[in-house]
Symmetry: C2
Subunit: 261 residues, 2 copies
DNA sequence: CCGTATTTGTTCGTATGTATT
DNA sequence: CAATACATACGAACAAATACG
């Protein structure tokens, strides 16, 4: 009488998934069916399913059913040193897709805000100081992939970097633009990764449960100029169940295809 | 009728925790008390508590009660480029503690194993090939912090690096040792971060719930020698609810103390 | 050491709400 | 609109872990 029943059920289902008996994308029996199959109550079945959800093996869709997650070969995001590989753009997260994947992005939403504590700390300004925020939704193969918001000190605009207020996508070249406009160069950056539960916006956008069963990964990248002052801080949020992050450093060979099992 | 009740309860409790009304380590009202306070059923209260557990705010101890997590200012692990800061040791994860923290480690457990698929892929050997594994438990301030296992191709031992089989802690200098013994130098490395549910060992060691409510972060660091061949792959697992990772690149100023709220 | 009270963990049954088809 | 399937919520009972006299 070792494991509780809900964990036994979860284990059996997990085995069926990993053995391929239940394929990716396939629909699991409904909770009612599982209740009968395992002689458990629906609540117990749901406890088992919650375990599988947390482990990223299945996902539930209200009104539809429970399905084996397609996920697999997680999206790989490279946060490498540009001195290392030839990853051109500095300050842009790049999905290094082993498979062919199509990345797209929503419109840029520009706002003038008062800096929250966390942002103020990164930008080394007073809490509540005025900052420019540029927010964007990103998709890969049409599915929600990340939410990204960049914050710039308002001082940069006052000094002439007025394009920061434009709602056009200059993200791939903002640092180049700042160099050109203000002679501000990016000398380095710092990435901070944190795992936490999603907030309401995030669970809606990523279509992950709102009860925290699936975490999100928050990457805060703060870029510094040649004088050691913070120029920009970018907060990017990814769902944790379908992402991996790679840091490369030094001289290493390119990645070989792995061919997921 | 916006949020479900269990989330409202969780929000109120979260507020009490963040405002300091419930201090770190303090015991929350029992589930029975909360049931009466909020006019909800015990199951609904437990749903709310599960949310807070997942967010790392509280933890439950059977027979005792529910307590505000001590956690706080997460441990920061730097995975930086050595060219950047002066972070001496290459290939060693370093807890950059803003507070004074005491790191310790358990004994090294050396084993000869057949490489699992994931390890074989990283070391670019055939699946099932013989490898040396060196496993260690790590603690910070006496609490479990990480589980680390390094894998080396058996070929290195055959070539003379016999010290790899010794159960003494040479971890901080294994790469230096390999340089000396075999003229193998570390030219670079690749870190891969994945978030997943803990396995049984991990949940026991870290004392986190075994149902996957708290994720773990798995960092796989593979080091490459001057010829681009993999020398070592190190798998380190951290509980996700009390850790942050920092990757610094280029020329950036040192971290300033933040003084948690 | 034992027994009891307390507290969380697991499981059941049931009812109703909400999203999708 | 109806049927289906998951989401939320209630109430109840017993088990297991812990604390304490």
């Amino acid at each position: 009488m070792a494991d509780p029943m809900y964990r036994q059920i979860a284990d059996e289902l997990r085995q069926k998934i990993e053995s391929g008996e239940l394929r990716r994308g396939a629909q699991l029996p409904t909770e009612i069916d599982l209740r009968e199959q395992y002689g458990a109550s629906r609540n117990t079945v749901r406890d088992a399913l919650r375990l599988l959800i947390t482990r990223g093996l299945v996902e539930t869709r209200p009104g539809q059913g429970t399905f084996v997650s397609e996920r697999i070969s997680p999206l790989v995001t490279t946060l490498s040193n540009p001195d290392t590989g030839g990853s051109g753009e500095v300050g842009v997260y790049e999905a290094e897709a082993l498979q062919v994947r199509e990345a797209s992005a929503g419109p840029v939403r520009v706002e003038i805000q008062e800096a929250a504590d966390s942002v103020a700390r990164e930008l080394q300004v007073k809490s509540g100081a005025t900052v420019v925020s540029r927010h964007q939704q990103r998709f890969v193969d049409g599915t929600p992939w990340s939410l990204q918001t960049s914050f710039y000190p308002m001082g940069l605009v006052a000094q002439g970097a007025t394009n920061l207020l434009q709602a056009t996508s200059i993200d791939s070249g903002t640092m180049a633009y700042l160099d050109e406009a203000l002679d501000v160069k990016q000398a380095g950056w710092r990435d901070t990764l944190t795992v936490r539960a999603p907030n309401e916006n995030e669970s809606l956008f990523f279509k992950i449960p709102s009860d925290g069963r699936v975490a999100v990964i928050e990457v805060v990248r703060t870029a510094f100029d040649q004088h050691g002052g913070p120029v920009r801080t970018t907060v990017t949020v990814y769902p944790a169940d379908r992402n991996q992050f790679v840091f490369a450093s030094g001289d290493i060979p390119p990645v070989v295809d792995e061919g997921g099992s």
